[in-house]
Point group: C2
Chain length 225, copies 2
DNA sequence: TATATACTATGATATTTATCATGTTTTAAT
DNA sequence: ATTAAAACATGATAAATATCATAGTATATA
């Protein structure tokens, strides 16, 4: 099994601020596993008791709203940590994590992370900075949700996917989401998401083959209003 | 001028984790001032270079959306800190802060806070916990913005104001907002906010006298859908 | 106290979005 | 390969919300 101190993924998250000794210690008690598409890592209301480091794959963080629909709050990708928020506040998870595709993840027990938070100021600061950035992003999403039309928000999602995920050989976006996922990302009815994607296709902004989507006119999408 | 080490307000924020020595040091370089209703503490895009501690009053944090409307992202009250996010990431402010009523605030320069963050693990952890809580709240607002109707969101705002602000002698909510503020909190047109408040009044959930609002039927508001 | 200005209110209408219905296509399982 | 289930698509309609128009009301300021 890959050791933390040799793992390249940690460069993308706060674990990069740990010393070699600490990484070796963490490596000794971490567990690693593969998750199939659609599997649930943890549910809203469950205790996580540690932090997941995403080594490969994508997962969606969702929350069930009062009207019974799942809202996707964010997508978590290779290199991201998962569960820091609940760990720090010692609360149950506020969100449900579901694999969007095949994933490989490592789980680091709570006690190890807390140990480092209390001893290593760099690590704490790095974690604090990550959380601060997440907060800025969340604030911006609030503004977009409140002020932009469904069509704009869906265009935004496509723009985000285009820049955040590698494309395959044929230029298709490197993550495949269902139309329902798109709807749950922008907060609309599935039919509305389908309709707007059809319209984007008709108007030449994107091309689609099943769940595969290719962005054809990124600048056009940015001009949607 | 009130000294930090004697100030009761710090109990409500991360500054409570500092030792007396540190508080005295901070007290020595803080500045304190009064802000009039409507005044701007700082604008989106400006460098804050420190942290504000709210000793008295309320301010709104807004962001201008692409369509030219201000969205109120949150209300900040007595005891809250302001500017930690930008301080930690060393970014310009993402939001504009505007006083909702008469305020008294203290400003602590960046260098002092950074000094404590690097030396005091308790302080860092406390800050981290505050930010983690803010993040949870922001995630929940995203879900509400995406999934709830305007009417539900406005009811939620009233419920929040009812529990977050003291009432005056006659039972009116202790903070006065314009109808436009209500609209900018829920992300709707001012006319829509006015209409829904009128409806709530007609249906006996609230009573209003100008900007003064009294919650009459809290449970009723919670049942709005 | 007069007067301008901002805020509140409400009707009429247009636009956006959700819901319901129905059929097709894709995917997964036997 | 066959069949059931899930996902996609689209029309028709209803409901929610925005926009435009107009007028009353409060508030500040000269």
């Amino acid at each position: 099994m890959m050791k933390c101190e040799q793992c390249i993924v940690k460069q993308f998250n706060a674990l990069k601020s740990l010393e070699k000794d600490d990484l070796i210690r963490i490596s000794g008690c971490k567990t690693s596993k593969f998750i199939k598409k659609g599997e649930i890592l943890f549910r809203e209301g469950e205790s996580i008791n540690g932090v997941y480091c995403i080594k490969e794959g994508v997962c969606k963080l969702t929350k069930l709203s009062a009207n019974g629909k799942d809202q996707i709050v964010k997508l978590v990708v290779r290199g991201d940590l998962l569960g820091q928020r609940s760990l720090v506040t010692d609360e149950k998870s506020n969100l449900t994590a579901i694999a969007v595709n095949e994933m490989e993840i490592c789980f680091i027990p709570k006690s190890e992370i807390l140990h480092d938070l209390s001893k290593n100021a760099n690590f704490s600061l790095d974690m604090l900075q990550d959380m601060a950035k997440e907060l800025r992003i969340a604030d911006n999403i609030i503004v977009d949700m409140a002020q932009k039309s469904v069509k704009q928000r869906l265009a935004d999602v496509l723009i985000y996917l285009d820049q955040a995920f590698d494309k395959d050989e044929r230029g298709y976006v490197g993550v495949m989401l269902s139309r329902e996922d798109y709807a749950n990302l922008v907060g609309t009815a599935t039919e509305s998401a389908i309709r707007i994607l059809s319209q984007f296709k008709k108007e030449g902004y994107i091309s689609t083959t099943g769940k595969h989507i290719k962005i054809i006119d990124l600048e056009g999408l940015k001009r949607i209003e």
